[in-house]
């Protein structure tokens, strides 16, 4: 794998659970860095991860992960990929070093090297001092770091993180996010983060993939997407706004009204802001306050998936 090649390439991936379509023609191309995988429940995120890890064979389509075919080279994929699950995972009666080395060994590392490497990654994730403690005595934050350590022990080229900050206090969350940023930006490991916490994705990822109803609703550079998909304007008005809002909605805008009578207008990329003024003039509405707002990932997500 050389720099510039794509780590994940999926083409027209389709998958069905019986009559239910989980993935419907997913095309995906991801290079280096950190990428956020977003989507409401049932969007197909888990199915996509299962396919990427080689647990499911797609009904149609083809794909490669780190250059390996997702249908034929599932073992090679799992050897080169690290996976940090969402749930707490441990083996009772073990300490962190043995646990981490054990999974390194199961990945195919020689036993002694796995043990040596386990020490290194545990120090890296901040569990160096407590690496000989029994896992049952670990706090939620420590278990989260342990999961990251076992995912890193065999030095994967690609890391799948499933809800990496769940059950963490703000400090723990910050630390895990710092680690993810460090891994993805300085260690030449590509990270795919699946999370419901949009700010986490915004903090750590430069790239984002939004799935909705089994399809890719949006993908690309986060900043560019926020610009391309829509523009967000905030305004205050005076006068009867019924007709004004109705006309804007007919033109494809999505409108949110806050408690302090501030209107947020999500404008499709093909409309200009002058349209707002033109409509206001036609509907006899005065615009008293107008500002182009900074769009967040939350706005992008809401706009793409169609939920508030």
């Amino acid at each position: 794998m050389t720099t510039g090649e794509m780590n994940i390439e999926l083409k027209d991936i389709r998958f069905h659970y019986g009559k239910i379509t989980a993935l419907d023609g997913v095309d995906l191309t991801l290079g280096e860095g950190a990428c956020g995988l977003l989507g409401p429940n049932g969007a197909g995120k888990s199915t996509l991860l299962r396919i990427l890890l080689g647990f499911l064979n797609p009904a149609q389509g083809e794909g490669r992960v780190l250059g390996y075919d997702i249908r034929k080279d599932q073992f090679l994929i799992r050897r080169s990929v690290g996976y940090m699950p969402e749930d707490d995972c441990l083996i009772p009666g073990m300490d962190a070093v043995t646990f981490t080395a054990y999974f390194g060994e199961l990945s195919g590392m020689p036993r002694q090297e796995a043990m040596k490497r386990a020490h290194d990654v545990l120090f890296y994730v901040g569990l160096g001092e407590s690496r000989y403690r029994l896992l049952e005595t670990y706090s939620a934050g420590m278990k989260q770091r342990l999961k990251l350590a076992q995912a890193l022990v065999h030095d994967p080229k690609l890391l799948f993180l499933d809800e990496p900050t769940s059950n963490l206090d703000p400090q723990g969350r910050r630390e895990i996010l710092d680690l993810i940023k460090d891994i993805s930006s300085k260690k030449n490991i590509q990270v795919l983060v699946s999370s419901h916490i949009l700010t986490d994705i915004e903090d750590t990822c430069s790239h984002v993939v939004i799935l909705n109803k089994g399809k890719v609703a949006a993908q690309g550079e986060l900043e560019a997407l926020k610009e391309i998909q829509f523009s967000l304007y905030e305004l205050r008005t005076k006068g009867e706004t019924g007709g004004f809002l109705k006309t804007l909605k007919e033109k494809g805008c999505r409108i949110e009204e806050t408690e302090d009578e501030l209107m947020k207008i999500y404008m499709p990329a093909d409309l200009f802001r002058t349209e707002i003024f033109r409509t206001a003039a036609l509907e006899n509405v005065q615009i008293r306050y107008f500002i182009k707002s900074r769009t967040s990932l939350e706005d992008l997500f809401a706009e793409t998936v169609g939920v508030d």
Binding site: S46, L49, R50, L53, F55, L56, F75, L76, R78, R79, V81, Y83, P85, E86, D87, D88, C89, L90, I91, P92, G93, M94, Y102, F103, E105, L106, S107, G108, M109, P110, R111, E113, R117, D120, V121, F123, Y124, V125, G126, L127, G128, E129, S130, Q150, L152, H154, D155, D162, E175, D178, L179, D182, I183, K187, N188
Partner: protein
């Protein structure tokens, strides 16, 4: 606790293709078993019958020295080391009971803990097949069971030859080592399947431990009840212990205790193994590692 006390360095080594990818799982299972409370004393006690029978082999060769113990009866008749002697050790109730205790202590947690603590996700995100996982877990139970079956069985033959200074035992019964190996493997395989089956039924280790024990005991109790009512020895097929004894009797070429063809007992044991395989296949699914 500071993050990244040390920097991250890439690993320069190369992955190895293991001939037995399940071996690390077995090694860990054995290690964790020895850490379990009460395991060490039970393991030591489980070797007791073997020591006792080994002493019997020694006495059989020094029968004159121990004649006082037999109170005038023929020591040779009581301590004849023949296939029946081996069959007695292997199907001895105490031996079987201690094997069940080993299964409870070393095997109950094997799958149930992985289900409870979600570690299946970690196993199957590695280059590991489902059968490697099963084999690793089965080999853990098998390791302990073979120590109380195969190892003593072969030692009995060896020590009989050493104590007697002749190969008469092997000359008289040349098939005996094969019987010892065959029986040990069969009973070990059955009990391993049985342990994994029960271990996969619950996420609670205590329930699993109790269940392993109760199924074994109650299968025999039910046989006793039905036999008491109907006086029909075919009810021995209900009892795990009796089925093992029937198959053991066939392998060591001695008369079976119950008037039921050994093959029926063998089929009952095989059916339990098949059921175990079926349940494990349903319960242990790599695809469910991502929820």
């Amino acid at each position: 606790m500071p993050i990244a006390e040390r920097g991250y360095a890439h690993w320069e080594g190369t992955f190895v293709e293991r001939r037995f990818p399940w071996w690390p799982i077995t090694r860990l299972g054995i290690r964790l078993a020895f850490k379990r409370k009460f395991f060490k004393p039970v393991f030591a006690v489980s070797l007791g019958p073997a020591v006792f029978f080994l002493a019997g082999i020694y006495m059989s060769e020094r029968i004159e020295d121990f004649q006082f113990m037999f109170r005038g009866r023929s020591g040779n008749r009581l301590l004849g080391v023949d296939p029946a002697y081996f069959k007695t050790y292997f199907t001895f109730e105490t031996t079987l009971f201690l094997m069940v205790m080993l299964m409870v202590l070393a095997g109950a947690s094997l799958i149930c803990d992985d289900l409870k603590f979600n570690s299946l996700q970690l196993y199957f995100s590695r280059p590991l097949r489902k059968r490697d996982y099963w084999l690793g877990k089965m080999a853990t139970v098998s390791f302990f069971l073979l120590i109380v079956t195969l190892v003593p069985g072969l030692l009995f033959i060896l020590f009989k030859i050493i104590f007697s200074g002749s190969f008469k035992l092997l000359a008289d019964y040349p098939w005996l080592p094969i019987s010892v190996i065959g029986y040990s493997l069969l009973v070990t395989l059955f009990f391993s399947f049985y342990t994994l089956l029960v271990s996969s039924l619950s996420k609670n280790r205590r329930y699993v431990s109790i269940l392993i024990f109760l199924i074994y005991i109650f299968s025999d109790v039910f046989f006793g009840i039905f036999y008491g009512i109907f006086h029909d020895s075919s009810f021995c097929l209900l009892s795990i212990k009796c089925n093992i004894q029937q198959v053991g009797a066939f392998l060591f070429r001695v008369n079976p205790q119950y008037d039921v063809p050994w093959i029926y007992s063998f089929l009952v044991l095989a059916a339990i193994c098949s059921l175990s395989g079926f349940v494990l296949k349903k319960k242990i699914r790599g695809v469910e590692v991502i929820k």
